[in-house]
Symmetry: C2
Subunit: 394 residues, 2 copies
């Protein structure tokens, strides 16, 4: 009866969301999810916001609103981006349903069937799935401890000079936790300008820097309007409201806005006002500091436990921010087998293969260190260490 | 620098949203918008919901949630659809960001370039724009006072037996206000089964029936799973929360859900809970009765004013529900000219051409009777009548 479009075959379930169904037992110590720690959501404050908002704005708070997003929210975002040396005004900003929607729109705006796009190898599953529906050829560029390798990026651009964009998560990357060094950020921008291939910079973890310095996004070095920046409140306030944003040159924002108009008219009015009201009324920066303090402690606890519990031939990243540690086993070891063994011991993580555009690397996995308390982190890593010792030849 | 996809050229601004920018002067009596009357939004109740919700659910209210939507909300929708003789469970339902997202997903799921889709002539601009991005051939079928003409639909199906779907707004249609008669609803379903072309039934105004009878949707007659139904809380509660739903066979819902996952992960968690909490705690049916009482009064006022103020050679529909009246002038008269003259008199409406897939009818316009109070309706129609008398040859 139903005669679907050809693209229907390209729509794949997210491996993470499929695994999540296996991990619903609350006894499982889960390092699998991509969720922030809910105990830090500012519940008492959020509970009262809609009362303030509706008293102040009346029916406007529940009515249709502009496709671009509320001016007040866009102004706040423009102002907050200044500390990261990103210069923009509200006219450069479109509010989206989380930055996932920015990814989907980017695919729609740029990718024709067969086009090449370039990303880190590995990269964020949700982005790969958002792009795949447009049937691109995805070329992964290797990473080291300083992020995407620029020599390999240049080779890829030479080979595919018509690539549509470079997709990168430069700071505290999902899944590796690795940060692109400031030098490489500038090199990437130069290559982007030289080859006339724009950069889509996805930076949801930017503010979750555990050190005292500021991590400047690629967009901060951009003088030619080559970088499309995606931001989000999901990791610094809460993800359930689904509020993210795109920063781009006006002409590009106009095109994203027309897509948004045809797709869902506009983002939730009340929730946009909730973000404005929260930031105006409370100490948002203080709240982010609390998040960073908790996440830093949990990262330290996990790294320390891994140091003492994991076998010597296992390697992992040491993230300076964000939510994830990336573990690399010997090449002969299959992380999905380890996942199954670990699940018997009631510990979970995400096997790494689906983060690779080609799916051809099977000896890695991702750990989320932010959602479990310290005791569970220590216990979980201990159990995982035992599984690894049994399964990995030392 | 930016090398867009081919589909970028297909993304058109909504004529309504463009006109809206001309009509921002609050002195203008506007019958143009598609907005519900904000004075009926249940503000005191909505203001307190998030407090109740966060007390009850804690961090869960602000966390990521299931792509399908909250089970509680889907159960409420399934229960409420029973009174309209639509049998479904939560497994047949996907929650969307307003029914506009259901339209965009339908285009994505079904339309390949060049495919034929069938709709009413005229039809909802937002749907046409959501579909156009996939480059279909859109075939409009004429309407009369009982909705889409079934003889013409059958001819169209004979000519295009591979059409991907029939898109219809059967009850209190946007833009005409016309309702497809029960006979025709059943005929449309039979034709759909005979030609194996599914129906996408968009029914946001279903509950805004001003008479005492129930308007049964096409989905209520559907025993074979041929009808994909789109519903919304935008017109019965408020549009700002962007909560709509799709009802379809499980296998179809699964496909829509995978699209949703890749596009924006899930719908706003807190807002879904707000709808659940509102319906559980307050008298939603009583609220809908209030809306209908106000809209019925305003419809009556507008129809009466039109009767006394409009020239004799102007025709219009008499809607039994919903929000719109459709006005047809003599064929030689251009409604956009009338719009410009009316704007000088500070009255606005939407010229009808952009509601036609071919854009080839220029002597119609749409009036929204729900957002202006009775005094402004009377005054606006009087001014509009004067413009018409001057511009239309009697």
């Amino acid at each position: 009866m139903f005669n679907y479009s050809k693209r229907e075959k390209l729509i794949k379930p997210s491996a993470i969301r499929e695994l999540a169904k296996l991990i619903q037992d609350p006894e499982i110590i889960s390092f699998a999810g991509g969720m922030p720690a809910p105990e830090l959501f500012p519940l008492p404050e959020m509970a009262l916001l809609s009362n303030h908002i509706i008293t102040k704005n009346g029916g406007k708070a529940l009515q249709y609103s502009a496709t671009e997003g509320l001016v007040e929210l866009r102004k706040i975002i423009a102002f907050r981006m200044k500390r990261f040396d990103v210069c923009c005004t509200e006219e450069n900003i479109l509010i989206t349903n989380g930055s996932q929607q920015g990814l989907a729109f980017s695919g729609k705006l740029f990718i024709d069937e067969g086009d090449v796009i370039i990303c880190e190898n590995p990269s964020y599953i949700g982005a790969l799935n958002a792009f795949r529906i447009f049937n691109p050829r995805i070329k992964g560029v290797s990473m080291d401890e300083n992020g995407m390798r620029m020599d390999e990026l240049e080779k890829t651009l030479q080979e595919y000079p018509n690539a549509k964009f470079i997709y990168t998560i430069p700071d505290f990357q999902n899944p590796t936790g690795v940060t692109l060094s400031p030098d490489r950020k500038q090199t990437m921008l130069k290559l982007s300008e030289q080859y006339q291939v724009p950069i889509i910079e996805d930076n949801p973890y930017l503010e979750l820097n555990f050190n005292d310095d500021i991590s400047y996004p690629i967009k901060s070095y951009d003088n030619t309007g080559n970088v499309i920046y995606l931001g989000s409140f999901s990791k610094t306030l809460c993800p359930g409201l689904r509020i993210g944003w795109i920063i781009a040159p006006k002409e590009v924002v106009r095109r994203y806005t027309l897509i948004k108009q045809s797709v869902d008219l506009h983002t939730n009015t009340l929730s946009q006002m909730e973000i404005v009201e929260y930031i105006s009324r409370y100490n948002y920066d203080g709240h982010i500091t609390e998040i960073k303090d908790l996440y830093r402690t949990r990262r330290n606890t996990m790294l320390k436990a891994m140091e003492s519990e994991f076998p010597a031939n296992v390697k992992w990243t040491k993230p300076k921010g964000g939510m994830f540690i990336w573990v690399t086993l010997e090449e002969s070891v299959n992380a999905t087998n380890i996942f199954n063994k670990a699940l018997e011991e009631k510990v979970a993580f995400i096997p790494g293969d689906s983060f690779f555009p080609d799916g051809n690397v099977s000896n890695c996995f991702r750990l989320n260190y932010v959602t479990m308390d310290e005791n569970r982190i220590v216990e979980g890593i201990k159990r995982l260490g035992q599984v690894l010792k049994k399964e990995v030849n030392e």
